[in-house]
Amino acid sequence: MIAFADVNYFEPWWIQIVKALLIFLVIFGVLPLLTVYERKLLGRFQHRYGPNRVGPYGLMQPLAEIVKFARKEAFRPTGSVGFLFRLAPAISILTAVGGLALIPWGNVQNILGTRIGLYGIDVSIGPLYVFALGGISFYGILLGGWASGSKYSFLGSMRAAAQLISYEVSQGLALVGVLITAQTLSLTGIVNAQRGMWYFIPQIVGFLIFMVASFAETNRAPFDLVEADAELVGGYFTEYGGTGFVAYLFAEYVNMMVVSAMAATLFLGGWLLPFGIHPPGWVDPFVVLAKMMLFMTLFIWIRATLPRLRYDQLMSFGWKVLLPLATLNLLVTAIIVVH
């Protein structure tokens, strides 16, 4: 049995730190552009332009906004618990950014005579690492809602917790089919196992369940019951303003990127290209980024298309449809693979 992923070499510690910093900086640079992209696209879906005043094509919009947010008064309501009120958004960001470490951008490459893996970590527990961080991220939401001392925040955070844990089960079970076929939890191993065929073809049911659960996990429409502004004002971040509010949005976008990368890696062949094209190694990260953008566009498109669900529909869909379906997918895959 393999105790650890086949990492039989160690990169020097400074390379590990530098590549972690580099990945983080790239994501940190892409993220603001992504918010512009979403608003531009939403604008187009609704026959308007979206932001186009600040900078060329409105690209400087996030910069203007962060200055505005930073100038806001540090507000907290009277009934709130100050320390936890400030801590909660930080926890959300911490867990979201931690998930970025797992994204595999490419295989182990030979760069200037050193072997460097184009990923943050490639560990034997693979997706479980992201699930573990996801478990901690509940604290960011629950503490934020509870510490605000507001009815809307509290109800929003309870809803968020119930929704997230309901769909996390289906999300986890949807991956089991992939694991049975790939026989490894290491994400680079799973990508390499897809050289013959990308898993979204044999695992189409698992892929669909994973995507639906991912929409719910990242609180995106049509599952954005957590921040349902028509009934809950803003959910768990009702009382947040200024950069605390930005922190929650930041965490949401990073989570979307992590989930997109996971979907691209597990089901869409990671850095592989179809039709037997083998580009040189430096193209790999761009392939992964392109596949991630594909999923981000899907996230935005669905947001513009589908109306929000009702809460009881959401819960019964998660438990009565997705969970049995994921279990069935698991059993069928197991039987087919073994025989």
Partner: protein
């Protein structure tokens, strides 16, 4: 000890990411204290959001039992996922025996699931 050190080397980039996340998170949640405008404290403005009436909210108020039920069910099924992951990775090399075990395990869980469903724990009230 050596093994622990090796594990730590595997996770070094993750530690860097967590530190960066903590730094950015800390920055975002305290930036307003440093750069935001300062105004005189105002009791009316700092009450929690409410529609009209003064808020009489305490943190200890009661809410639906359904949330607790969902949380308990979550533990049951999340443990199922955790148990299935290792066996899923090795399923092909273990062959028929492991398959039989998995099917038995899942069927037992599904019996519990159907019981919970029939008792109405999944109906949202």
């Amino acid at each position: 000890m050596i093994k622990l050190l090796n594990v730590l080397r595997d996770y070094l980039p993750a530690v860097v990411f967590l530190i960066l996340g903590g730094a950015v998170g800390g920055l975002f949640s305290t930036l307003n204290l440093l750069t935001g405008v300062r105004t005189r404290p105002n009791l009316n403005r700092s009450t929690p959001y409410e529609c009209g009436l003064p808020s009489e909210i305490q943190r200890g108020f009661r809410f639906g039992i359904s949330f607790y039920l969902i949380a308990m069910l979550f533990i049951l099924f999340d443990i199922e996922v955790i148990f299935i992951y290792p066996i899923a990775v090795e399923l092909r090399s273990f062959g028929g025996f492991a398959l039989g075990e998995t099917i038995t395990f899942v069927i037992l869980l599904m019996i519990a699931f159907i019981y919970v469903w029939r008792r109405g724990a999944l109906e949202w009230k």
